[in-house]
Symmetry: C2
Subunit: 180 residues, 2 copies
Amino acid sequence: METTEPEANVTRIMLAVNESSIKGYPHASISSRGAFEWTIQKIVRSNTSGFKLLFLHVQAPREDGFEDMDSIYAFPEDFKTMKHRDQTRGLHLLEYFVTRCHEIGVACEAWVKEGDPKEVICRQAKRMRPDLLVVGNRGLGPFQRVIAGTVSEFCVKHAECPVVSIKRSPGETPRDPVDD
Amino acid sequence: METTEPEANVTRIMLAVNESSIKGYPHASISSRGAFEWTIQKIVRSNTSGFKLLFLHVQAPREDGFEDMDSIYAFPEDFKTMKHRDQTRGLHLLEYFVTRCHEIGVACEAWVKEGDPKEVICRQAKRMRPDLLVVGNRGLGPFQRVIAGTVSEFCVKHAECPVVSIKRSPGETPRDPVDD
């Protein structure tokens, strides 16, 4: 099963992930985790050597001007050395996904970029040319969508690669469905 | 490699396919074939036992009232017996995909349904609950889309399962891009 395929031949799936907006829950959002689990269970399955996952987290600009945006994280250890250097926001989120990939045995890379999530995701998809972009989706109704905006709708319309939007399951919806 | 997984555990991918609109070209449309090849090359890959493809072709109602809409085709032979009985429109299209799946070694089923493609596809997706719906897309500009309509946009918005729309590559666009 563990035949290593040359990288040019693997299917590269980009996952746009974000932090939870729920207070006291400083981890990946429910819909990001749902999109990841769908990708592993329904697409990668047991064929771990055939895929590479590219995790992109986009965060709002920092007020203190600190930047550590261009590092690439591919192994759980990469986060340990980083932690002693600086506690960059959003990286515990990527650490979660990179560690999960490491356990499962599927190759991955992870980035943090700064800016407007929907635009940065589309720009990075254009640059990286993944075979598929997977984005989570809170499954909001039309009224809630107007208020909360949806990154997934924008990506489905504007990204230059195939995009699949994975709706959060009703059973996982928090008390305020705009939360995630 | 040929470990047969129980069906409940395979990833079921529904592909909505249609006939080419190009004269003298009575086969699958360019974008349908593109969507199929993407599914095989980028998702199924060598993991043929982990997937089942569900081909759905929706056609306009027949004027002569003839109906053969509820048959299921899963093997190339199914089309041979059908051919001696009746030459239903649209089935050579499904025969193409079922034969390709048979050669590749991935399980499949195929149907023809009658009605408005975008609505029937969403209804069948609701009934069949696939893990992913793949639809081809001519990649038309906004002006052409108004004239030609796009089934894929409707499905992305309204289907209850994850949907990915696969754009036709620019190199495969026929002289009239509304053709497919």
